[in-house]
Amino acid sequence: MTLLARWMSLALLCICGSAQADLTIEITQRLDDATPIAVVPFTGIEAENTNTGSIIRADLDRSGTFRTLDPAGLPGRPGSSAEMLPGAWQNVAADLVVVGNAGKLADGRYSFRYELLKKGGLERILSESFTVDASRWRDAAHYISDRIYKQITGEPGVFATKILYVNQYKRDGRKRYRLELSDVDGERQVTLLDSVEPILSPTWSPSARQVAYVSFESRKPAIFVQNLATRQRTKLTDFAGLNGAPAWSPDGKRMALTLSRDGNPELYVMDLDSRQLTRVTNNPAIDTEPRWTSDGKSLIFTSDRSGGPQIYRVNIASGDTKRLTFSGNFNARGDISPNDRYLAVVHQTGASSYAIGIQDLNNGVFSILTDTPLDESPSFSPNSRMVVYATRKGRMGVLGIMSLDGRFKLRLPAVDGEVREPVWSPYLR
């Protein structure tokens, strides 16, 4: 099957499955040494007319690590290794085969059974069966993808994670804004807030049960916290001046944020139980866009104290501050990878162009990750392997996902309007 035909069938797959999704997926680059794998359509039932195998196939293709074979070319549709005819699978163009079955129990729950096989079905690497509540059948498919990914690469997969982002759209000639989240494949999109005023700086709590963001609904920026299960909103800060860039501490008990109530933008840390504020920076420059290191002791942030925006790290207890970025005149909106190894920044590459740059915090090596001219808001996946960011396709704002080694990228345009400010969720429990 030609490459184009396979990509087209993948695109069709995404469109069919995305009837209600706000994001769609376009794979734009994948290098040829991806591992071939055959994912056989699951036997048994199909929830919402979607075969579990199709979801797994799309997940593995989207990871950039695997290249799935067209199911039409496979020698049959066994649901288990026992059903595989001996010798029939030896000549398949992939050493790895996934077979499985989905069933529905009397109480409405779904049962799943799958096997990961090698060498034409002769060797079984992984085998599992489990049941889930009816509403979680999609999560079950992503769980299987995660298990396969972990088994082959040794690293946790992120197929079951979500992305939180802002959608700007037009109604009756006016700009409007929605805060939305969706599965990382664009499915199950949920709108958390719909407003005529801008929404910025969304962020996840470490438990992924809450989100925080900046909303201009009162005609000035204020920070809100929203519970995902109850949808209840609480206003966290609404001081005079800026209330911006909220970021939860890794233990979930504090929020770093930017306030200008004391004269100019500074970093503060708020204890979420007592609502007590501790000021962290104290200088006349702009200090904003804080993110926590994973030990909860330091913040990385943007400051223009040296003349233009650069990334600094401050120890919250001692106030010791160290500059981290030295490449070029503009580095802002840093995000630290969960393994603390990499810093992603918005880096100015030319008079009017901005790309995502990655700094290796171990050796200081700085490299440019993206090659599009107006990129922003990088956010690491929880396995530290990929970055989601905001970019442009033509004039429209779209999201991009890039693997850190630059080998794989895909684009997520919106169906309605533009999307930006993406934040990758933590692992979901």
Partner: protein
């Protein structure tokens, strides 16, 4: 009076022509006749003629530009630092300067450009004579760079204008500042012409009481 007005206009136009090459100032913001939001917080606008007697009549916010510019002064009047506000409130030029409500900035800068001083002086004078009036200054940036940093940069610009007004006699309680960063561009283009229109502080008269 008409002759005086015409003479002043001529002076203004000549000076503007000579400064056009190096200025970042683009003149009064074009009013979108379809955008009703600009009229939300305005007290009733008096006709231009009534501003003449500022010290005699009840203080009101000066008239903003309107789509029809029903205005005895012809042409596109721009603010100029060489235009002097006379002690008697020289109504013609004062009204024009008060009509100017947008001030522009260079890339990454929050310095008020010299060409804005004339209009800012006019607003400072008007506000200090009318302590019941309040203005909101909103700071904006172009689309380049990150959102939160641009919120801070927009605030820095609005604060620069606020400080200038206070230095020139306005009570700080008459001024409120908000920044929209890059969230509310007037031009959605991705070129220097659009960006230069977006790097701005807007001055809006809001209702008298906080």
């Amino acid at each position: 009076m008409n002759i005086k007005k015409i003479a002043k206009i001529t002076t203004v136009s000549m000076l503007v022509a000579s400064m056009a090459a190096c200025s970042t100032f683009r003149g009064p913001r074009p009013i979108d006749p379809n955008d009703d939001s600009q009229f939300e917080n305005l007290p009733p606008a008096p006709a231009v003629e009534s501003i003449r007697g500022i010290s005699e009549s009840a203080p009101e916010a000066p008239e903003t530009g309107s789509a029809n510019l029903d205005n005895p002064i012809q042409g596109n009047v721009v603010a100029d630092s060489s235009t002097v506000i006379n002690a008697d409130g020289s109504a013609g030029s004062m009204a024009d300067l008060l009509k100017v409500r947008v001030y522009y900035f260079g890339t990454n800068l929050s310095d008020i450009t010299a060409i804005a001083y004339g209009s800012l002086n006019a607003h400072a004078g008007y506000l200090s004579k009318n302590p019941n009036l309040r203005v909101q200054l909103s700071g904006h940036t172009d689309e380049r760079g990150t959102r939160e940093y641009n919120l801070a940069l927009g605030e820095r610009r609005a604060n620069a204008v606020a400080r200038y007004l206070v230095t020139n006699g306005v009570n700080p309680s008459q001024i409120s500042v908000v920044s929209y960063g890059k969230e509310k561009p007037v031009d959605d283009g991705s070129n220097e012409e659009a960006w230069s229109k977006n790097r701005r502080v807007e001055l809006d008269y809001v209702s008298g009481n906080p």
